[in-house]
């Protein structure tokens, strides 16, 4: 697959949140504010890229029998690094993301990509895949977080968006509302993506 395809794959066709439905835990918990969404997304992207790269580089070296522990060590190292970096230089994010940064270690997205892609693909592709997946994840959770913040709090990135008269629907920032919003977004995303796929298949057929 061309690098461009690999990259776009992570954002649209195999979007980790909307298509692969991976990493639901942090998605649900973090997406109460758009700022959190971006912060978490970037942290996950960093870890995805680094771990994909390293695992791909060492794929010949990691015996099959111990690949899971090896993945864990590698992923955990990068997560700890980003955690320490956040604590030292972006304490605001460290405060608001709190426990969910260390939980990136067990974020299914990273594990899944390590297992399904990085372990059997060249380093550059893996890196790009990590980047694509990361950006896809960031986009997805930021969209979800923005919607939840606007409807459930009346603000976006902390700025008042809705008019004063708007009474925020608090349930949207609570977990039940999160599930509902996610469900709706999943449905929307799938409709859009399938239509794009159909169109592109149609075009390919047309082009012969």
């Amino acid at each position: 697959m061309s690098l461009k395809k690999v990259f776009m794959n992570g954002i649209i066709n195999e979007n980790p949140t909307f298509r692969l439905v991976l990493g639901m835990c942090p998605t649900m918990a973090i997406t109460i504010s758009a700022f959190n969404g971006i912060g978490m997304g970037l942290a996950a992207t960093f870890v995805l890229m680094c771990s994909n790269l390293v695992i791909s580089l060492m794929r010949k070296w990691i015996p099959d029998a111990i690949r899971i522990p090896a993945f864990v060590i590698i992923i955990a190292t990068f997560v700890t690094i980003i955690d320490l970096l956040f604590q030292a230089f972006v304490p605001v994010l460290a405060q608001s993301l709190g426990m969910f940064i260390p939980l990136i270690v067990v974020n299914c997205i990273i594990f899944a990509r390590a297992e399904a892609f990085a372990f059997s693909n060249p380093p550059l592709s893996s890196l790009v895949d990590g980047l694509g997946m990361g950006i896809g994840f960031t986009l997805a959770i930021t969209i979800l977080a923005s919607l939840r913040e606007i409807l459930g709090n009346g603000t976006l990135f902390g700025m008042q968006i809705m008019p004063e008269v708007y009474q925020p629907m608090r349930i949207i920032t609570a977990p039940p509302g999160g599930f509902v919003m996610l469900g709706l977004l999943l449905a929307t995303a799938n409709i859009v993506i399938r239509r794009t796929q159909k169109n592109s298949i149609g075009r390919r057929e047309q082009n012969g």
Partner: protein, 627 residues
Amino acid sequence: MRDIVKLGGRLLIFSLVAALLLGATNMITKGPIEEQKVKAAQSAQREALPSADSFEPIELPAGGEYPLLTAVYEGKHAGNVVGYVLTASPQGYGGLIPITMAVGVDGAVQGIAVGTLAETAGIGSRVAEPKFLSQYEALPADPGVIENRVDTISGATVSSLPFKQATKEMASFTMNHLGIEPHEGTRQLAGEDLLRKEQLADANMFELLSAYGMVGDFGTIQNIYRGIAGDATVGYTFELASQGYIAPIVLRTSIDAQGKITGVRIVSQEETNIYGARLATEEGIPFLTQFAGKNAVSEGFADDLDVLSNATVSSNAIIRGVSQAVAFYEQFLVAQPDVDEGIVFEEIVLPKPDDYKAVQSAQRGLRDGTLEKYRFTVRVTGYHEESPILMRVDVDTEGNFLTMLAIEQHETPGIGAEVFTNAGFLAGFITKPAAVDTADGVQAVSGATITSDAIKRGLKQVARAYQSLTEAGIGEQMPPAAAPVFPTVSGAFEGAEFEPLAFSDEGKQFPTVKAIDKATKAGTLIGYRFVTVSTGYNEKDKITLQIEIDVSGTFIDAQVLSHAETKGFGADLLDDPAYVQKIVGKSAVAESSEQIDRVAGATLTSDAFRKAIKQAAVAYQAVKEVP
């Protein structure tokens, strides 16, 4: 086997590399993380003491004197010390409770905040609620004051008690170690209190005295607030609703401690625009300002007040409201203590005590030898059965009820407890003849019937007691209550000689002490023996105790001479030498009685016992000969 070594070895290498990477990152980030922590702590400090701009930690004295304190910071502004921020983390129910308290150099608590708690939600977590924390606002930083004025949360003692203890330690640190004199601070008033402060400028705090709408003569009074500055009463604010032409006019008026009206303000009104409503505009100002500075005296109050022309009904409504406030103030709020000044009370023997068993004692009050009033103490059971109400009822020489005071009551705050000061209730018998009919005719306060009925019962008993006194012709013979002789037993004074000591208890500090003997041995004073009579569970047969205190001011003996308490409850307590003798060896001061347990299931008995011990100590302090 080789495989395992190979696999293990690989993993080892991975872990090693990972560790090195992490170590490197740690080295880079360690510094900045520490900085962040310090900044966070500083922002917490700044939040606690906003007036300071720099904080320096103070070293805590070693030696475990302040075990709960974790840190103290000195806050400075432009080089001058403005206050201190103290932190403590006492152990609560589910974990540590991080408390930050700021004390200003003026000796008052400026702020208090609680960090993340692990206490039980809805119970222990209430220590972080504003309702609990607001008790500390502007409080003098003095452990004794905190002990007395801060109430722990009932049902959440395991969380609130250590909290209180920690704050006491903090206050002790500022008071003793830093030498800051505790003082009452100024509270931030909010909302309606600010409006009240307009009329009573010196008040720091407003305390709701009565929120029950009055009826009858005080029908316009809705709420009464007492304006307080520190311990002193600055004045009273009345919120009134007086029927105007169309609807009740809501007013606020205040009377200061000198008995002058400080102002009248219309809070809201719905009178006719062209007539009564003008009172709320500029046209009404001359009318309203008439009140300011007037003495709060009912007689002739409205005589020189002008109404606003074409707004007579509304004006009169306002005058009526303010007059009622003045009348209420006159009757119930004007400081009463002077009333009894100069009166000497003597005990009277009641002719037929069995007819009014609830009456504990009767006295006549003489001013310069002339009889002025009678005073009865009566005990009734109200809502709280374990804590009976002790009331003091005064009757004047014409046979009318003068006053009723609760000496001791534990009725429900806000409900039963309010009856004692409820104007409508009191108006039912005060200044009316002291007869059983009067007491019967008093209207119980709705919602507080049990307490009201109890008070009425007490009044009936007083009425009967008074009747029997009049029948017996009180003026005739008034023997001072004969000093009853108590059979004493040998106590801890060996080979001593006892001679009765005459004493008088003017201030009623130790009424249970009925006899005091001096104990001497070979002519030298070695101590005192007290005989006390206190009422426990059995109201008829009281508990008599013999208590001995030696010249060094220590209890050396305590014995029960007689009692008729219930077997299985109070009797077991008094028959147990371990309980009775527990006071032996303790210092003869009032506080020592608190070391004796108040036993659940035998509260009345143990209370009577403790009271007797306490009063024996007080009596000792009063009569002891200073060498």
